[in-house]
């Protein structure tokens, strides 16, 4: 048997339940490996000691009905965890210990998983490379001659899953923050339908776009974790009432007859040849699985990113107003209240966060609201209409996840627009509120993983997962990095 940490979440739980391995052994395996992987900088804070203690207790008090029993799980540091520091990777929240637990993470612990720690991400989830974190950049376990970014904002989560430093994790996706890092690290990232998972207790970035989702080694793990974290929550007014299916049990690889759309507008300028080849490979795979592949048109695709970069900063500028140094977190001195605010927010936020707050403030300010914010909301409607129209004829949409593979640390940091372009293929699903998954589908010439994205109809995660599962089984992707950092 290979090491425990190499197993998938489902395999681990199965082995725990059949008493092949103990909860403690499992936790130890991940704790040891994570302890030796500090160089990747995935963890902001670990709770290894509590996890080990709890896993021992679990071995003594076996609860076999729990879906995640004994699984050690670290989460993105955007989820508030009771009594455990929650920072959103910002200096602003350094030392903040919430008195409460987010709905999504509560559901995970209720199913018997143990918190392993809090994973690094871009500051307030704003970034596509995990370089904006106050706690330093995360490193991708895949590497060429340089250290590479893991993608972002859930970069710590993606690297941690890829490098086997947690059995699985949950991230958040506002414009691609689960799928893009999944693609960069050869892992599976699912952004559910907006409203599927409660946002309660997750540090907000852009409320109408934020959605939590599983980040896992494979599709089956993704399905299992989704069925745990999904569901209506009375504490979130935007959370959906739709029924949650047992996704992991209903998973099947026979997708014969599924109608899959290929949006011609996703062949954006500057997309690499290798990405196009990967896409072509994906099309061949689904054809061979008996799917009916059609070209479709999503005419407003090219406006998705500009739309996103109005709406998300606008909402963020307001969501981040609460970080004012009064009730929690960082406070800088000031001779009066206003000066205290200004110093606190100037020193507490990093540059990217400040950029987005300022642009968000600008597009909402009087005289500009109609021209920018309202305009963006109208275009958002058109983007959603495109999908509604397309989904009358097809079941899922197949695209690449990212326009390129992982890039070197520092490569894009000085050019915000170049950085934003990372999300060009993922953002439309957020704007339309649709479920979308990224699965690893191959390598580029530098031996870096590349992902394919499947977008589904609202609340049709079931079909998206089946489709992903079938492709995954057919492609049989295997991670191939060496443990160079140890």
């Amino acid at each position: 048997m290979s090491e425990i940490y190499n197993l998938t979440l489902c395999q681990i739980i199965e082995k725990i339940k059949s008493k092949e391995i103990s909860c403690e052994e499992v936790t130890k395996s991940f704790v040891n490996r994570a302890g030796k992987s500090k160089k990747l900088n995935c963890y902001i804070e670990d709770t290894f000691d509590q996890a080990l203690k709890k896993s021992k207790d679990q071995d003594n008090k076996f609860e076999s009905d729990k879906k995640l029993f004994g699984a050690p799980i670290a989460v993105k540091d955007l989820f508030c965890t009771k009594g455990v520091q929650t920072t959103a990777s910002s200096k602003m929240l350094e030392g903040f210990k919430p008195e409460y637990e987010s709905t999504v993470t509560s559901k995970i612990w209720n199913e018997g998983a143990n918190l392993l720690g809090k994973l690094n991400c871009d500051e307030y989830a704003m970034g596509s490379s995990n370089e904006t974190s106050h706690f330093g950049n995360v490193i991708n376990p895949y590497k060429n001659d340089k250290d590479l970014v893991p993608g972002g904002s859930s970069g710590g989560s993606a690297s941690a899953v890829a490098a086997c430093l947690t059995s699985a994790t949950v991230g958040t996706d506002t414009g691609g923050s689960i799928r893009q890092p999944a693609s960069f690290t050869g892992t599976v990232g699912l952004k559910p339908t907006y409203g599927r998972c409660s946002r309660w207790g997750i540090v907000a970035f852009a409320s109408s776009l934020d959605q939590a989702g599983p980040m896992t080694k494979d599709v089956k793990d993704s399905a299992l974790l989704l069925e745990v974290i999904a569901g209506h929550d009375d504490k979130d007014s935007t959370s959906a009432q739709n029924k949650v299916e047992p996704f992991s049990q209903k998973l099947k690889k026979d997708i014969k007859g599924l109608k899959i759309g290929i949006p011609k507008e996703y062949k954006i300028d500057g997309i690499s040849k290798e990405i196009l080849n990967l896409w072509e490979k994906g099309v061949e795979v689904v054809k061979s699985l008996g799917c009916d592949v059609k070209e479709i048109s999503l005419p407003h695709t090219r406006y998705a990113l500009p739309t996103y970069y109005i709406i998300a900063p606008a909402e963020a500028s307001s969501n981040l107003a609460r970080y004012d140094g009064v009730r929690y977190g960082f406070r800088a001195e000031g001779k009066d209240l206003i000066e205290m605010y200004e110093n606190t927010r100037s020193l507490g936020f990093g540059d990217e966060v400040k950029r987005r707050i300022l642009i968000g403030t600008y597009v909402l300010s009087s005289g500009y609201y109609d021209a920018y914010y309202l305009k963006a909301q109208r275009v958002r409607r058109l983007i959603k209409n495109d999908f509604d129209e397309a989904f009358k004829k097809i079941d899922t949409i197949l695209t690449p996840t990212t326009p390129s593979s992982a890039f070197a640390i520092g490569e894009n940091i000085d050019d915000p627009i170049a950085m934003y372009l990372n999300d060009v293929l993922t953002v439309p699903a957020n704007l339309a509120g649709l479920p979308a998954i990224s699965i690893p589908a191959g390598y580029d010439q530098n031996n870096l993983p590349l992902g394919l994205q499947l977008i589904g109809k609202p609340f049709d995660e079931h079909t998206v997962l089946n489709n992903a599962f079938a492709i995954e089984q057919s492609i049989n992707f295997k991670s191939n990095f060496k443990d160079w950092w140890m």
Partner: protein, 95 residues
Amino acid sequence: MTITKNTVKKISKLSRIATNEKFEKNMIKDLNSILKFIEQLNEVKTDNVEPLASTVDQELIKREDKVSLMNKKKDILSNSPADNENFYVVPKVIE
């Protein structure tokens, strides 16, 4: 539209973010390139298009008028960078 030094000062003030020469200089450059990028939307015809604020298509959830939470002030003040056991304390406000 162009973002000038005055714009940066104004929106920084509205956002309660202290500025300095260097910050302003960087922001003028960055914000203008973002602005140019988002202004691509001007190409899109949106007459008679209803703005879309949320993709959620359901009724607003409402709760009953019940008191279900009683906090102790120490809980609510526990994370505060400055308090005096009864109140949050902030530098003097001049009205």
